[in-house]
């Protein structure tokens, strides 16, 4: 249930933000950047809720182990 509310909150907040940014005549680049960051954050949160957590630390550990193994 929490996940549904979070998805709803992020969608509404993003839509409102884009609306305000367009009203403020922000550049397309800035709007694109904000949408990209929010999408990355959104994907991360969804991965947490689906219990398939994206763990950047594990990624770094695997990479270092792989480099050290050479």
């Amino acid at each position: 249930m929490i996940m549904v509310w979070i998805i709803l909150f992020i969608t509404v907040a993003l839509a409102l933000s884009i609306f305000v940014m367009v009203k403020q005549k922000r550049s397309v680049k800035e709007i694109g950047l904000v949408v990209t960051i929010v999408s990355l954050g959104f994907a991360d949160w969804i991965s947490i809720f689906l219990e398939r957590k994206f763990n950047p630390n594990q990624l770094i550990v695997n990479l270092i182990d792989w480099v050290v193994s050479f």
């Binding site: 933000s17 680049k29 950047l33 904000v34 954050g41 947490i48 994206f54 950047p56 270092i64 480099v67």
Partner: protein, 366 residues
């Protein structure tokens, strides 16, 4: 780019708060667990190594005065590869922000509010940080200038009150550790706090003068104070207790009782931790936001700072528990930060020298 200016003193306080603040809370037990009674020597030599390595990026910035590391990347390696390296740095700053946020969350959840979800601490604190970052580096440095004396007085107060528990016997067995054998294990102390100060390079363009002196002095004082902190913890808690506690300074404060007047000082020290985390996180978060603004030529930081809250709060949940956090810090953090604080600046420095050599040869007429 922001047109803010900060004085050398403000930069020094900022650097000292960034370096010393959180390490006093999170590092002491870890250092003592490795080097035992000789642990007070560790911050001294790791600090010396950290300062030596920081000379690389200090040298690099002297070739590009008034430019941040993001701008230097693009200038040296071009828009393609330079942009990619700059993006790596931004990723590092975002990840660093997530790590600092997680440290705060772990501390609050373990010691103060165990029934509150950790995300609550993360999001609430990130909202404050976001506000500070949108206000700019001048605001952050002024608030640090205002808050740092409070932190110093609190630390001095704890230091003098807790001295009543001091016992020289706890140092027995000193000078028996083989420094060379603990060298490898102590590499994480070079990374946190000393190599982490690399993020301060993003603030170099805003400092009016005496950048190098303020930066190196802050590093030296951090090494000395950290050494004193470790010495103090061994003398008051002893090696065994200090290594078994996650937050040894917090335990020292918990045991302070002056009659019935001064009791439960731990809530006060938690506030002090919030202040030092504010200093550190606001710098790391500012670096991420300013990096994005500089790379993509965006003038306003507000929207980027707000959108990063979602990403940082999500990434800060990467560790399942504090043990994972400590293991990562101890075993992998040095290698991870070495890439950003040593290898990449060294690469940029070499490219600068090659470019300069080419220009010289052109000027001579070869």
């Amino acid at each position: 780019m922001e047109t803010a200016r900060i004085s050398p003193w403000q930069f020094f306080i900022l650097a000292l708060g960034y370096l010393l603040g959180t390490s006093f809370f999170f590092r002491l037990g870890g250092i003592i667990s490795i080097s035992r009674q000789d642990a007070w020597m560790t911050p001294l030599w790791t600090g010396a190594v950290g300062i030596l390595l920081s000379l690389i990026w200090i040298k690099l910035t002297t070739y590009y005065p008034g430019n941040s590391i993001i701008q230097i990347c693009v200038q040296v390696a071009g828009k393609g590869i330079g942009g990619l390296i700059a993006l790596l740095y931004i990723g590092y700053f975002v990840h660093l922000s997530a790590l600092i946020t997680r440290n705060l969350g772990d501390f609050m959840k373990i010691n103060l509010m165990p029934r509150t979800p950790i995300t609550v601490f993360h999001v609430m604190f990130l909202l404050i940080i976001c506000y500070a970052v949108t206000k700019g580096v001048e605001t952050i440095s002024r608030s640090t200038e205002f808050l740092f004396p409070i932190v110093t007085v609190a630390f001095l107060f704890i230091f003098f009150i807790a001295l009543s528990e001091w016992n020289w016997d706890r140092f027995q067995g000193m000078f028996q550790t083989n420094i060379w054998s603990t060298l490898h294990k102590n590499r994480s102390v070079i990374a946190f706090p000393f190599l982490e100060s690399f993020a301060l390079v993003m603030l170099f363009p805003y400092v009016k003068s005496k950048i190098k002196r303020s930066f190196i002095l802050a590093n030296i004082i951090t090494a000395l104070f950290l050494s004193v902190g470790v010495f103090f913890t061994i003398g008051v808690l002893g090696v065994t207790r200090a290594t078994h506690e996650t937050y040894s300074l917090f335990v020292i404060v918990q045991e302070i009782h002056l009659g019935t007047f001064f009791e439960h000082m731990e809530s006060t020290i938690a506030l002090i931790l919030l202040i030092v985390i504010f200093i550190k996180l606001s710098i790391a978060y500012y670096c991420a936001v300013a990096g994005l603004c500089q790379l993509f030529h965006v003038n306003n930081r507000s929207w980027l700072a707000i959108s990063l809250i979602l990403l940082v709060s999500g990434l800060s949940l990467g560790f399942n528990n504090i043990l994972e956090n400590m293991t990562f810090n101890r075993q992998y953090y040095f290698e991870y930060i070495f890439l950003f604080a040593v290898l990449l600046p060294l690469l940029l420095l070499c490219l600068t020298w090659i470019k300069q050599g080419k220009e010289k040869r052109k000027a001579v007429g070869f």
